[in-house]
């Protein structure tokens, strides 16, 4: 059975139910039930019109529940009406769903969970597995999120920036179990990009593709992190890189720069270098300047200091670093790297060890500890 097809139909089926007058929360439950049924029934006989099948089954599930509710409440109301004919709203519906699931009233973790379920068509269990929480907890997180947005009108225009932040989070954080969460983020961003023509949507898609292209080279067989400079560039996915670059160039040509396009431009410059030594650091620094201008993020200025160190030498990098707040995450790691380049292994080793203490994840901590150990061993 084609699970990718099944999941790609989720947002438009949900959109149709909502347009027919079903409340978002009830419609979403009904679509989930229909997806579960499809997984059960389709392997034996895939319907000729998969979307029509899903709409019919989901609508029936919705009516069953709504009738039971109505009976329970002794209330006769609207749900028995024949559905209104469907207009060609598929693209709009998909877009509205993204807006709703990333609504600013939701916390980031709720928006992520709701997006993966209502737009992505993942099951609660798959989402729970991706974020390493019990299924019951994830079920509650999703139903609370649905309650939070239940009063939001479905046709209200939203801010695409909030949607992009949620998709970025899905791509960047999450474990992969049964479902490849990063690939899912790319699929959802592609789908958004088809429904909504916007240079930053394209920028985010390009950014994801360019990073995803390096995935195989990013981890050693033992699970340890391989830094960009040491990656086997022969293992980068050139097709993904070509696609990412093409999407980015088309977006940049529209002259409406945003942070995702700028980040993607940096990733593209790395992807473009046949070896680490041939990286165009001068251009990368320029893009970091743009990015700092667009976001004013201290993390960007920290990364900029690394790029300055490569473009103009470690002293210049250290000077760029000195004006930043030393309590920033990864400050010590960047400082260690620049000190090593500057020929001061003793300070670098001390700073690497300090950075390892502050590392927010295990892979990074192990990597930094190894750096400290490497320098200490050389000095003995």
């Amino acid at each position: 059975m084609n699970e990718a097809l099944l999941r790609s139909l989720t947002p438009s089926v949900l959109g149709i139910l909502v347009r027919r007058g079903a409340g978002f929360a009830a419609a979403e439950d009904a679509v989930q039930d229909a997806l579960v049924e499809a997984v059960r029934v389709w392997p034996a006989a895939e319907p000729r019109d998969p979307k029509g099948w899903l709409v019919t089954v989901a609508w029936r599930k919705f009516l069953d529940v709504a009738r039971a509710d109505a009976a329970r409440r002794r209330r006769e109301d609207l749900v028995d009406e024949e559905p209104a004919p469907e207009a060609a709203h598929a693209a709009d519906d998909t877009l509205q769903l993204y807006f709703l699931c990333a609504h600013p009233s939701l916390t980031p973790s709720s928006a992520v969970a709701l997006t993966l379920r209502a737009v992505g068509g993942l099951t609660t269990r798959q989402i729970a597995q991706a974020y390493l929480v019990p299924e019951a907890t994830m079920a509650q997180r999703i139903s609370r999120a649905k309650r939070t947005v239940s009063g939001v009108r479905f046709d209200q225009p939203g801010d695409v920036a909030t949607v992009l932040r949620v998709l970025y989070l899905v791509f960047n954080e999450g474990y992969s179990g049964e479902v490849d969460v990063a690939a899912e983020a790319i699929r959802l961003t592609r789908q958004l990009s088809a429904a909504f023509d916007h240079p930053e949507v394209a920028g985010l898609l390009a950014l994801m593709l360019l990073h995803h292209a390096r995935r195989a080279a990013r981890t050693a067989p033992d699970g340890s992190l391989v830094p960009l400079a040491e990656q086997d560039r022969g293992r980068w996915d050139t097709e993904l890189i070509a696609e990412g670059v093409e999407i980015l160039q088309a977006a940049l040509a529209r002259d409406r720069l945003g942070e995702f396009q700028a980040q993607a431009a940096i990733a593209a410059l790395h992807a473009d270098a046949p070896t680490a030594e041939e990286t165009d650091w001068v251009q990368i620094v320029e893009w970091y300047d743009e990015l700092a201008h667009l976001t004013d993020s201290p993390v960007v200025r920290l990364n900029r200091a690394v790029a300055v160190g490569e473009a103009d030498g470690p002293r210049a990098g250290l000077a760029a670093l000195m004006v930043l707040d030393d309590s920033l995450p990864r400050y010590a790691a960047v400082s260690a790297y620049l000190h090593e380049r500057d020929g001061d292994p003793a300070t670098a080793a001390r700073l690497y060890a300090e950075a390892a203490q502050q590392a927010p994840n295990l892979a990074e901590r192990d990597h930094l500890t190894r750096q400290a150990a490497r320098l200490n061993a050389r000095r003995r």
């Binding site: 929480v133 609370r144 990063a182 990073h211 994840n361 892979a363």
Partner: protein, 135 residues
């Protein structure tokens, strides 16, 4: 989205404000305490923030490898061990501030006299998965 461990100590944490040992509470006070902990976990499940909660027996055994072909050496329990873990709760929350807020609520569990224990809980962040985008 980040996971935190809320760690409860039998020994090793600074003294609680309402520092009466549990065996000197009334049975009703113990029931009220247990109920509070269960309600707290249920409430966090309801908010989509609960991951795990476990209690540990106080008596532990130290174990170490003793060389090829030999059984491991065991020792203890050591009455003088300074730090003794009583149990934990793991939460998955949107911010560090939220983790602190919840730990504060957990520390308000009732003890002797039905008053909050004000015990010290240790909040420790999990080391997460590395992010994909770093440069």
């Amino acid at each position: 989205m980040a996971k935190y461990l809320l760690l409860k100590h039998y020994r090793g944490a600074p003294a609680a404000v309402n520092d009466v040992p549990m065996d000197q509470w009334t049975p009703q006070e113990i029931s009220a305490h247990v109920q509070y902990m269960q309600d707290f976990a249920a409430r966090l499940e309801g908010t989509g923030e609960f991951v795990d909660g476990q209690a540990l027996a106080p008596e532990g055994t130290y174990v170490r490898y003793d060389g090829e072909g030999r059984p491991p050496v065991t020792d203890g329990p050591f009455a003088e061990t300074k730090d003794l873990i009583a149990g934990w709760m793991v939460i998955d929350v949107d911010s560090y501030e939220r983790a602190i807020e919840l730990a504060g609520e957990l520390s308000a569990a009732p003890g002797a006299g039905g008053k909050p224990i004000h015990e010290w809980l240790e909040v420790r962040p999990f080391l997460a998965a590395p992010p994909t985008i770093t440069e």
